[in-house]
């Protein structure tokens, strides 16, 4: 059962082993991503890093000062060999130094990312949880009544919403609620006339502006939950223990609980994953509703050719997903005892 426990008498808790493996893989992945983002920044046509350095010298700065100023912007020295630049970049990253933004001069990239993150996290959390609850509940029904009229309708509508790209849903929501039937503000996180803080006007404006993005997140992910739950229920229904429960004459209510509890397990993994994934997927929704989260930050940084900001945002987005991956797997081991005791992954 446990091949690794027998060897050498060294008994390692399977959970610890699992955790260590995941952390190691996560670190490798983070290293790969940082390298990719370094290579991309380095290979941008025209080499903005060297370009910045030369512009500063032309403006009359001494080479030393220009070098320091450019290094502050990008996190690594503009001159020197590729290897020196690479190690410099990595060292700066270890100190959480992502360089400075070009488009908003004098601001650290880390600060910009930090303030954008909250605008991404809140709507994503709200929308995902909303769609999870709705989708899972309806998915159980769709799984049990697979050939009924309503079950069919749920599956088809789920497939459609799941299949349609986020921006289509977002644009339709935008067109319906801001143009055809203008009851919600079209963009931005909050109206500027309110003072940030715990006052009714500010909070109301906050909720008003968040409604459409949250609705879009919810609609965009709802279909996936229905489909995943439906197929999970279909699998569980074929298990022997359901047949046994039926033979024992258990009531429908008990049966429903048996099915739902077992079928929802794999979905928790997807939930953790999708929370991470939405960091990247938020791009369209934030662009459409002009919501100042990480996705909009990335798009704007590309528009203004702010490479340090672009690299930093890409890095943070990817790291969120890697962390979510690890969390999902560990979480699954916690909630499903079969994984914990049986498997050495």
């Amino acid at each position: 059962m446990k091949p690794f426990a027998a060897r050498g008498g060294l008994r390692v808790n399977p959970m610890t082993r699992r955790l260590a493996g995941h952390l190691a893989r996560g670190l490798v992945m983070i290293w790969v991503v940082t390298t990719i983002s370094f290579v991309i920044i380095r290979n941008i046509p025209g080499n903005p890093v060297l370009g910045q350095y030369e512009t500063l010298i032309e403006r009359g700065m001494s080479p030393d000062a220009a070098e320091r100023a450019t290094a502050a912007l990008y996190g690594f020295l503009p001159t020197g060999t590729l290897w020196e630049q690479y190690t410099g970049y990595m060292k700066a990253l270890l100190h959480l130094d992502l360089g400075q933004s070009l488009s908003t001069p004098g601001t650290e990239v880390v600060t910009l990312i930090g303030s954008a993150t909250k605008w991404t996290v809140l709507p994503v959390l709200g929308g995902t949880l909303l769609s999870f609850v709705l989708g899972v509940t309806l998915g159980v029904y769709a799984g049990i009544k697979r050939s009924g009229k309503l079950g069919d309708l749920l599956s088809i509508s789920g497939s459609l919403l799941h299949g349609v790209p986020q921006y289509v849903i977002g644009l339709l929501v935008l067109a319906i609620f801001t143009t055809l039937w203008p009851i919600f503000p079209a963009g931005g996180p909050v109206d500027v006339e309110f003072v940030p803080g715990l006052n009714a006007g500010y909070l109301a404006s906050l909720v008003q502006h968040a409604t459409l993005p949250v609705l879009t997140y919810a609609l965009a992910s709802y279909g996936g939950w229905v489909l995943a739950m439906k197929s999970s229920v279909a699998t569980v229904l074929g298990d022997d223990f359901i047949l046994a429960a039926e033979l024992r004459g258990l009531s429908r209510g008990v049966l429903f609980r048996y099915v739902a509890r077992n079928a929802i397990l794999p979905l928790f993994t997807i939930l953790a994953l999708s929370l991470g994934m939405l960091f990247g997927g938020a791009i369209f929704i934030e662009r459409i509703f002009n919501y100042p989260g990480l996705g909009l930050l990335l798009v704007n940084s590309i528009g203004t050719r702010d490479y340090a900001l672009m690299g930093g945002t890409f890095l943070v987005t990817t790291m969120a997903i890697i962390v979510a991956n690890i969390a999902a797997d560990l979480f699954y081991a916690v909630i499903d005892p079969r994984v914990r005791t049986g498997g050495a992954a």
């Binding site: 290979n43 067109a175 590309i302 528009g303």
Partner: protein, 303 residues
């Protein structure tokens, strides 16, 4: 040679019967729900649009300065855009770029995904480990942000190059699916029987494994293609790529951020037409995938 005499009929003959049975099965699955036939029809319509659509219109679409943002009428079923160009014409001519990208992606994902998935699943061992690490990476690094970042150093020129990049970024899903399918099939009786008969690996993979996986691969490829189409339209919509030709993504971008289609209801058809095209194409593909799902997975056929 004794083997041939034991088997009923020659190998070519059994192949033909298998194929006929397969098509009969497809026909049955399609007929069970008429909506699936509609799905095939929709996808065929878009195929025809991409193939023949641009031939119906002049290379430079006519502009009508007297009819900017015209409301839908008989002459302009979806109205006109900010330059007075017919929106329907834009959608039809723009479909070629979109569909071509999807096709290029399909070819690359099928070729790479199937080949690598089979290799990993059939031989297992070191290749398998390496492949799984690569696909892990591919599936973890978010595709859209990566594409956005790539767009700063790679100028995507034309639909085929676009499709190539999307395919190279997206074969991991298909490879994984094919690998897991191979792993489960290689333990089945018919593969063991084929191995026991001493048939070559080529025969086993080509004649036994692949045909039983074909609908599954097709399904996954359809999903990959839709993903590619969306990503491509989305990139143009975000405006990070140079607008070198007319396509749906460019239309969406200009409608939302340029033309101000959202400021008045009169201009809405300009925004809605490409959305409608995407929705319709999705519907068609969803219906086909639904049918394929049933061909492949008989367990879903509820008695």
């Amino acid at each position: 040679m004794t083997v041939t005499t034991i088997l009923p009929g020659s190998p070519g003959n059994t192949g033909a019967t298998l194929r006929r049975n397969f098509w009969r099965g497809v026909g049955r699955v399609l007929r069970r729900k008429p909506s699936r036939i509609a799905g095939v029809g929709i996808v065929a319509l878009f195929g025809a649009m991409a193939l023949f659509g641009p031939m119906l219109y002049p290379a430079h679409l006519p502009r009508d300065n007297n009819a900017l943002y015209a409301a839908p009428s008989l002459a302009h079923p979806f109205g006109t855009d900010f330059e007075g160009t017919d929106v329907l014409a834009l959608v039809v001519t723009g479909s070629r770029y979109v569909i071509l990208t999807g096709l290029a992606t399909a070819v690359i994902t099928v070729a790479l995904g199937t080949a690598l998935g089979l290799l990993a699943g059939f031989h297992r061992g070191r290749w398998d480990t390496v492949l799984m690490r690569i696909t892990d990476m591919q599936l973890t690094i978010p595709g859209l942000p990566l594409l956005l970042v790539l767009s700063t150093i790679w100028k995507f020129q034309g639909p085929l190059e676009m499709g190539l990049v999307l395919g190279l970024l997206g074969w991991g899903g298909v490879a994984r699916a094919v690998r897991s399918q191979t792993l489960s099939l290689r333990e089945r009786g018919f593969i063991e029987a084929a191995r026991g008969l001493g048939l070559s690996t080529r025969h086993i993979v080509g004649r036994e494994l692949l045909p039983s996986m074909a609908p599954y691969i097709a399904m996954n490829v359809l999903i990959a293609v839709t993903g590619a189409i969306y990503a491509q339209v989305g990139l143009f919509f975000l405006g990070v790529l140079p607008f070198d030709s007319n396509n749906w993504g460019v239309m969406l971008n200009l409608a939302v951020f340029g033309g101000g289609a959202l400021t008045s209801t009169a201009a809405l058809p300009y925004l809605l037409a490409p959305l409608l095209a995407i929705l319709l194409l999705t519907l068609g593909i969803v219906l086909i995938v639904d049918a394929m799902d049933e061909i492949f997975n008989p367990r879903l056929r509820e008695e």
